[in-house]
């Protein structure tokens, strides 16, 4: 297992390298740079723009720029953000806590909903309830998140006034106090609900199908023959077995926790990684954009690895070698 992990980790190096080339060239292929938004006689002049382009090395040949960037990246230095005037790592570090809070709450919501719906669907397969649940799931999958976000804000913030519509924290609360915690929760719940409840489809259907399959297995028949209560069969025997494969999906969720939700964060003005990414693309703030893209790449790779390792752990029949 250790040998397998090491082999996989080494195998990631060329992949990361290739992706870095793609990320870099995609960034550079975009028209304009961080300075082209500065065409504004009020605040700058062409001489300044030219001077800054030279200073930032934007006039150098493309491979020189790539090597300079890459040599920083391997040392963990993603450079400075031109737009924000600070180090990229600090900037990302500032936004990460928000994104993680939102990502974890959204995942919890997804897991809870998917567990409840999946259990019901699996037990009462092909019933009206099952159809309603799968109907809901596919509808949620089909609704674009910005539509769902706007509708949710319109109903819960603007009409009902239950929760604030924007931001991650209210004004006038001291960090560390109970009020701060409540304010944070109030600001997070709506985006988390939108994110979480739209993503239930795969988990629900996964659990449902596995339960249907398990319910036809021999051990279930044995349990039934012994006269075990139906609810005990489902809740104890089948559910336990069916949940195991779902646990392995957790690996894939890692990147999504850190990656943030680009569209949802933007609409809720929730200052996380996704929002930062949009800002950076719009402002052509390459260094931030590339750092986030690289971060997501590495996390996705690691997530896949974890998923594979978990498979091996929960199912001893799979040999990792």
């Amino acid at each position: 297992m250790l040998q397998y992990t090491i082999r996989r980790l080494i195998g990631m190096i060329p992949i990361i390298f290739l992706i870095s080339v793609v990320v870099f060239s995609l960034a550079k292929l975009m028209p304009g740079d961080a300075l082209s938004g500065k065409i504004d006689p009020l605040n700058s002049d062409p001489a300044y723009i030219e001077e800054m382009r030279e200073k930032m090395g934007l006039n150098d040949p493309i491979h020189v720029q790539y090597l300079r960037w890459m040599s920083g990246v391997v040392k963990g230095d993603f450079g400075d953000s031109f737009v924000h005037k600070r180090e990229v790592m600090e900037l990302v570090g500032d936004r990460l806590p928000n994104t993680i809070i939102l990502g974890v709450s959204a995942l919890l919501i997804t897991y809870c909903l998917a567990f409840l719906m999946g259990r019901f669907s699996g037990r009462y397969a092909y019933s009206l309830g099952d159809y309603l649940i799968s109907g809901f799931n596919y509808l949620a999958l089909a609704i674009p998140s910005f539509v769902a976000a706007l509708v949710a804000i319109y109903i819960f913030s603007i009409n009902l006034g239950w929760v604030p519509a924007t931001g991650s924290i209210g004004s006038g609360v001291e960090p560390g106090t109970f009020d701060y915690f409540i304010s944070k929760a109030k600001h997070t719940i709506l985006p988390a609900l939108v994110l979480g409840s739209l993503a239930t489809a795969s988990y629900t259907q996964f659990l449902r199908n596995d339960m249907i399959e398990s319910s036809r297995k021999d051990y279930v028949r044995t349990a039934r023959a012994k006269g075990t209560k139906e609810s005990t069969i489902y809740n104890k025997h089948i559910l336990r077995n069916s949940i195991i494969p779902i646990v392995t999906l957790l690996g894939f969720d890692i990147a999504s926790i850190f990656g943030g939700a680009i569209i949802t964060e933007t609409i809720f003005t929730y200052p996380g990684i996704g929002y930062l990414f949009v800002e950076s693309v719009n402002a052509r703030d390459y260094s931030v954009m590339m750092a986030i893209a690289m971060m997501l790449t590495v996390l996705t790779l690691i997530g896949n690895l974890i998923a594979d390792l978990l498979y091996g752990l929960v199912d001893p029949r799979i040999r990792l070698s």
Partner: protein, 572 residues
Amino acid sequence: MKKSAFWLVSIMLIMSLFLAACSKETANEKPAEGDKPAGEAIEGGTVTFGYTQPFKGVLSYAYYEGEDDVNALQFMHEALIKTGDDLTPQPNLATWELSEDHMKLTFKLKEGVKWHDGEELTVEDMEYAWYLIADPTYEGARFANVAMIKGAQEYHDGKADTIEGIKVIDDYTIEVTVTEPSVNLLDNIWVYPEPKHYYGDISSKELPDSEQIRKKPIGVGPFKVKNIVAGEMIEFERFDDYWQGPAKLDGVVYKIIDGSLAQGLIQNGEVDVIEAPKDQWAAIKELPNVNAVEADAMSYSYIGFDWGHYDTEKGVVVSDNQKFQNKALRHAMAHAIDRQAFIDGFANGLGKPLNTPFPSVSWAKIDDSEINGYEFDVEKAKELLDEAGYKDVDGDGFVEDPEGKPFTVNFDAMAGAETSEARAQFIIQSWQAIGLNAKLNGGALKDFNLFYDTIEADDPSVETFMGAWGLSADPDPSGIWLSTDKWNMWRWYSEESDELIKKGVTFPEDESMDVKEHRQAIYDDWQKLVNEELPVIFFEQRIDPWAINKRVQNVKVTPFGTDDFHLWAVTE
């Protein structure tokens, strides 16, 4: 599978962002006053000031870049002089005196102005700001605002240890020597002091990322920073030692919101004061809790003709494109467009046609009766084309050029707003209606970055394009209109225009003559020239809509957004 789907989704998202990239506008407003609401103002209270782009958090005038940060800075800091309602400089923290030969400027600072940390403001803070900006390691965009100080360029180039032209006389008096006399010196010179005692030894390069600017910035304004939540919100509280007396409000919250939610958030009171998104204006101005204020902006849009290219080596534009040299053609293309209909249809009426590059707010704007108004007149446009020799020879419905060759016009515009495509089609169809074979260049709109990249690179496919400029208070058109300017995007070369522009910033030879009248006369000539030559079709001047909650009083909408923050008050 999962991996590839992830990348597919990412790429699609990135691509959708290209489409959503927004256009850049700089907005300044004309003085206007909101209707005074009924009800008595109370002591204290807070007001939420909204904005639709995240702020970067560079909270120092010397280093900030965008409107997002200056919206926060305006509550906490002030300058030695301010721009008055007539767009001329007025004393604020200091008064000034200019020597006879216009070479020496002396600022006399008010005594007893306090920084938020209790220290008194002295001229050393002003001197310090000039040194910060002229520093060789300075990476901001303000050097042009200190370059006129004698010795600043040498200091910037590292050839001198001090700036020769700055002389501190006492704690409240400072004298600046400039390199050459200039009529708009006060409009151009940097007048925002920086707290020298507070920044300590931090270098000019490291300051923008320092705690003093990012986390605990100070100023001399009516509100001091209480709490900053990066990119999302800044809380201000009243500064009791403010030099004009403490503000009426307890505090102000500067809050970033998503533009698409503006209407709802104004309606439910989460935002009190905001420059409203134009596309939602029709609905927002009808809200019962809103004072709708429309303020003329110091900005205009235009349709440029491509006259040639920019010669980078010589640093001058070359008008070598023959296509639009015919004045009658340019006039015809201007008469073909119904600008008022365009404004009413696409901008909720938030604009006015203009015919010179000075919006009506500017004191230098020529009287409309003295210039050509280019009214919408299809028949006249056709007539002009016909007289100039643009006739439909082969009967395909479009005119050919005077030599009988096919004549087409490419049009470029920026993508961004929902109506961008329709706007571009409006212009194209207007030209087609007078017989010009106009089409969208490349069949698609360009995003902001690509648009200016293409034009600046003098791409041969660019023939006409719709751009916009935001202007400063002083009417001097240099920077955009001189034939040496890189931002002379339409590449129009005119010695007559250059001469007038340069003359416009000189002092009158007759000492007794009023400088403003002298400049007005020159700018009138210049406006007549560009109005007649029409190197670009002047399109519309903007009107900025401000939504102000009725509970907020005394919000003054000025050429620079909102003002008089210490007088703001709430009724509940």
